[in-house]
Symmetry: C2
Subunit: 425 residues, 2 copies
């Protein structure tokens, strides 16, 4: 374990070392012109769409305000010697120059950002990640870490010709303690695979999101992904117990604790949660997982106006209390888009379109009690005028189809940042 | 709001600046000889007291291993000009030189550590804290921040003649948002006062501990206090949404966000959580508070051996699931001490002493359901041999008397660090 004075030195070192290679690029990635345009347009459209005092909603733009950016000339360009070095280090198969693979890896999920990397590396161990970064640091080669590449703000793709370090081959589960529910795994584990693994042991991941079939836990941690269970289990700052990360110069920091009640400082792992790889690459994760509870109920509701949705959240927190596990929101424009463009999705309501929709999920340990409670809540919300219509999923298939409406991620990212701020889960 | 590049600069600055004044002292405070002796003796006694393979329990000693330490000669000594400056800045009443007050402030709750400070300051605003630190930094006067002075490891008292900065006068509640449950308050607010305030609004603090009548939220944050509700609501890293802090040079860092789903990095506030004032003094806190649920049940149980306690925790997490709100533990030696030295405390069991005791609290929204569930859990635990006896509190008075047995803090600190690590809530 790292001692206090060492921690202090490491903190200094990591903040000095890091991001010399990566930082400039990261700032630029978030400042893409089109993103700013979307946010402004959205703000205006809020008013048109009946959000009332929406014009007073404050939204924040992160990142540099520069609208044009150029490749930093201080970085080197990849040459054949570099490629040879990586082949010797990782083996031929883990050094990818195939154009089709690179085409996909250079582009984000939304196809909004495109880089021109000529090389993708697939390390299998922390040591390999360390060696790669040490070499790139000494050669001044820019790098970009990449998990499932499901991010929506261009953080996982190169801006110019950075070397892509793909974490997908580091996908082993290291330990799982059934007693404490603590899972330790490599950063490249796909979220859905972890969900399946835990399911066999009677546990769940404390986060869940639409991209679970592709996104990786290392990327989740690096972007501090919130997801659908935040209202119940809180953010990753509360659930991640430990991390192992490799700094830009190749140094490995072992912060892979497994104790939930560890209250010692400085708790450096929190700097890596949400720092999007700019301080180092997360290679291992230790996370607290809650026991799986048997009874899950899902309701799809319609609201007349936005403020009813807000009030509904307050009421749900109070009246469903300990069994509330998700509260998600979408508006009629999003619903319209989903129904138009997504195959096999049906409107849960037979009547005409409503203004807003809310999904409420409860999770508890007794089916009949939970169901009764949810039904009573819906009844009182209907009587109180908070909801205009509502339906409870009758089986797992119907529940999946409800979730599908909300999980389609491109609607989340473009339309909801301000609204999510405002709802303040 | 702080922009990304600014955050990076601030992180560097704060880690460079900080602790020049405070760090040496802090390391020393934790390395008091008697603490080490206690830990070693305890480890040996574990084996004698039937913990089975207790000899393999790993315990960690934090802090420097130096056993002797001297005052750093680089620090100045307080003079009358300093006192005059502070009187002008804060007013006569907030500059304390009274010997009786200083005697109490120089000593920790356990009377294990004693300093010799000649001055206690009581700032009322962030600006006053800033001015004090700026002055002390320029004059090279060592300082120690002090909250409720309820800590058990000597972190809140001077080692030598540091100026004590007592935060008790910064005790205002700034805002409370009933919709989101977000409380923003000054660091000197006493935990119990916050509990009472929230109670009126139907909310609770996500942490609770025996010292609540004296400890302050700023101290809770700085020491990353765990407390009795951690099993349900997790650590302060998950619940604290924002902080304001003053660095050693007087700079104020405003990280006082109120958005629960804020996933942006670098989230610098986490460095202050658990850093015990060594990076700066926390002046304001923003914290997420859960709604108060009406039904609380408490059971006091007896277990034959330690491993039954561990198994009971696993079972409680699974079978009480969403209503489990506390799981606390004590052994027969502690019980013996409590019964001997604490007035008015009775053994909840009429029979002879048991080896171990466990308190289980449930919190939910429906009395009859929760009670039924707890009773069923106790019955199955009794049948399975996990518990040898058990009693459910019949009213709030009995519940308080049960809690009193566990909350007496001197037993926690000396006897339980290893065991808490081992139980791994």
């Amino acid at each position: 374990m790292i001692k206090l004075m060492d921690k202090w030195r490491i903190t200094n070192r990591l903040l000095n070392h890091s991001s010399k290679l990566i930082f400039d690029r990261r700032l630029s990635a978030n400042s893409h012109n089109s993103v700013f345009r979307s946010a402004l347009e959205y703000s205006e459209s809020l008013v048109k769409r009946g959000f009332g005092n929406a014009s007073t909603i404050r939204y924040r733009c992160f990142g540099s305000e520069a609208t044009k950016f150029e490749r930093n000339a201080a970085f080197s360009t990849l040459n054949s010697e570099d490629v040879s070095y990586f082949k010797e280090l990782l083996g031929e198969k883990s050094v990818i120059q195939d154009e089709d693979v690179l085409l996909a890896a250079n582009e984000d999920w939304m196809r909004k950002y495109r880089g021109s990397s000529k090389l993708l590396l697939q390390p299998r161990t922390t040591n390999e990640v360390s060696q790669i970064l040490k070499y790139c640091n000494s050669r001044l080669l820019a790098v970009v870490p990449q998990g499932g590449n499901t991010g929506l703000v261009g953080g996982s793709v190169p801006v110019f010709d950075e070397v892509i370090i793909n974490m997908g081959s580091m996908n082993n589960i290291i330990t799982f303690d059934k007693g404490s529910g603590v899972l330790v795994c490599e950063a490249g584990c796909i979220l859905e695979n972890l969900v399946s693994f835990l399911d066999d042991h009677g546990f769940i991941m404390p986060l869940d999101l639409g991209a679970k079939g592709s996104c990786q836990i290392g990327g989740n941690v690096s972007t501090n992904a919130g997801g659908l269970r935040l209202v119940r289990y809180g953010s990753l700052h509360g659930n991640v117990l430990g991390l192992e990360a490799v700094l830009a110069n190749g140094d490995v920091i072992d912060m892979l604790g497994t104790l939930r009640k560890d209250n010692t400082g400085y708790d450096l792992k929190h700097l890596f949660i949400g720092s999007e790889g700019s301080l180092g690459i997360v290679t291992k994760v230790s996370i607290h997982t809650p026991p799986k509870l048997s009874s899950v109920n899902l309701a799809f509701l319609a609201c007349r106006d936005y403020f009813s949705c807000q009030k509904l959240l307050r009421e749900a927190k109070r009246k469903l209390g300990e069994i509330l596990s998700a509260f998600e929101f979408l508006d009629n424009q999003s619903m319209d888009l989903v129904l138009t463009y997504l195959e096999g999705v049906r409107n849960p309501f037979s009547s005409s379109m409503h203004n807003f929709y809310v999904l409420i999920e409860t999770t508890g340990s007794e089916e009949s009690y939970d169901r009764e409670k949810l039904e009573a809540f819906l009844l009182s919300s209907m009587e109180g005028g908070l909801i205009s219509d509502g339906v409870i999923a009758q089986d797992i298939n119907q529940a999946s189809s409800f979730w599908r409406i909300r999980e389609v991620p491109n609607f989340n990212s473009i339309y909801y940042p301000c609204v999510q701020d405002y709802l303040n889960l």
